[in-house]
């Protein structure tokens, strides 16, 4: 009876509205393709999941780098202090065993990124919101870019990692192609910073990567259109609980409760 009721509501709504989803993001699109079960858990079943210390490392490093870019004369130690303080705050209750390792990496990551990005000058915008409307998709794809130098037409997204990649990852290319399309920058770059190295790569083929993101968005829409009942969608996917998506104990427990796995 409840399912019948839900499906009646769903029939009158868009597939996104039926699940209370107001927008997509590069992150949610990437989650859908990497772990459809995690997408269902977060977006349809609305189960809260938490991120590991690595994600907080990225946020904290960005804070330190932003401070150093906005205050060009600020000593690196001051920027690092701000980054580490935020990391400590974000992870105060986090039980991730890699917390100390991630904390130790932050000073080098901040210093490397600032060495690379300070020559760009003071950015004209930080954490800028973008929203992209896609034909045939009922919700926009939104995001927040890290740094923009409007005077140079350059946009940079900062990524922290322990191993410097030799090229931009596909997921990052899709993410930054969204920013480039909305902001109309002539150059979009991704700056990968590690504790010891840094590299800033120029995004290529941005139109094709944006099209890929739009394709993923439409696939999500079709998937959600199968049913307005989240449990029905959950029954169509199975989590890989060995994946890092389920490393967090609370997330792992949620997967067990939903799928019994």
């Amino acid at each position: 009876m409840v399912r019948l009721h839900l499906n009646r509501i769903w029939n009158a709504m868009s597939s996104f509205a039926a699940h209370g989803i107001e927008h997509l993001s590069p992150s949610s699109c990437n989650t859908f393709i990497a772990s459809p079960a995690m997408f269902v858990l977060q977006k349809c079943l609305k189960r809260s999941t938490s991120v590991g210390a690595a994600a907080h490392r990225g946020t904290a490093t960005e804070t330190g780098v932003a401070h150093g870019l906005l205050e060009p004369s600020a000593p690196i130690t001051e920027c690092v202090e701000k980054a580490v303080a935020q990391f400590d705050q974000l992870t105060a209750l986090n039980t991730d065993p890699r917390k100390e390792k991630e904390r130790d990496g932050i000073p080098g990551m901040v210093a490397q990124a600032l060495a690379e990005l300070r020559p760009y000058g003071v950015p004209t915008e930080l954490q800028g919101h973008v929203s992209h409307t896609v034909e045939g998709l009922d919700v926009p794809i939104i995001g927040y870019f890290d740094f923009e130098w409007g005077q140079h037409g350059i946009l940079v997204d900062l990524k922290t990692t322990h191993a410097l990649p030799s090229k931009i990852s596909i997921n990052h290319a899709r993410q930054v192609s969204l920013y480039k399309a909305v902001r109309g920058n002539s150059s979009a770059r991704i700056c990968y910073t590690t504790p010891k190295k840094v590299a800033c790569y120029e995004l290529e083929n941005s139109e094709q990567h944006l099209q890929a993101l739009e394709t993923i968005g439409r696939a999500i829409q079709r998937f959600l259109a199968v049913s307005g009942d989240p449990s029905e969608l959950a029954a169509m996917v199975v989590p890989d609980v060995d994946s890092f998506y389920f490393n967090d104990p609370l997330t792992r427990q949620a997967a067990f409760e939903v799928w019994g796995l």
Partner: protein, 217 residues
């Protein structure tokens, strides 16, 4: 397969030697390769060539030192579907085959350039070609460089002068037998149409160090 020319190099076809226009000096040179070394031979004074403007190609071209050039071009009158450059290294450019006159080499050469000064000269030549080909159906123009026009540009606190070639049609000739149009893949040599797009592995430098965009191709 779009209408195109046999410019193959990566797939084992014969490599077509090149002919260059140096916009910074206003000079023509042909590049001869002997014993695995390139030698530029100045042919400015004797430059004369049959230009295959029937199959001129435009689009995005990347010239990066130490790498093979990358062409993402279409044959005129098609226009390239991509409005923005596929990478920061790609610039709007032109590619064409010519047959050099006997005095300056006598063989078929490829000209490819992203120099704005050269593109301006080519654009004017193409206009003249379109105006004249109706009266010369099936023929190609014989072209000389009658003059160069200095173009001074300013930017980043510096002045630079490039020379736009004044390319003049002096005659119309039947298509030379060795300047035959042949089908070729339409896609970029570096990114064939049916392969996934690259994401980017070119290290970017801070904006102060960006190169002058009016390079010689």
């Amino acid at each position: 397969m779009a209408l195109g020319l046999n410019y193959e190099s990566a797939t084992g076809g014969d490599i077509i030697p090149v002919c260059k226009y140096n916009a910074k000096a206003g000079r023509w040179a042909r590049v001869d390769r002997e014993n695995n070394t390139n030698e530029e031979v100045d042919i400015t004074r004797t430059f004369k060539a049959v230009f295959d403007l029937e199959n001129v190609q435009t689009g995005w071209i990347s010239f990066v030192a130490g790498q093979a050039p990358d062409f993402d071009v279409v044959t005129y009158p098609d226009t390239h579907p991509q409005r923005t450059a596929p990478t920061a290294n790609h610039k709007s450019g032109v590619r064409i085959l010519v047959k050099l006159g006997k005095e300056c080499g006598g063989d078929v050469r490829e000209i490819a350039s992203v120099s704005k000064a050269f593109l301006r000269g080519m654009d004017e030549l193409h206009d003249a070609y379109l105006a004249g080909v109706k009266a010369n159906p099936g023929k190609l123009p014989v072209v000389i460089m009658s003059d160069t026009i200095p173009i001074v540009s300013e930017g980043k606190g510096q002045k630079s002068t490039n020379y736009c070639p004044k390319l003049e049609i002096v005659q119309w000739a039947p298509r030379p037998v060795d300047l035959e149009a042949q089908p070729r893949p339409a896609a970029s040599a570096g990114r064939p149409a049916n392969t996934p797009p690259s994401t980017g592995s070119t290290k970017a430098t801070p904006p102060a160090n960006t190169a002058d965009d009016d390079e010689f191709g």
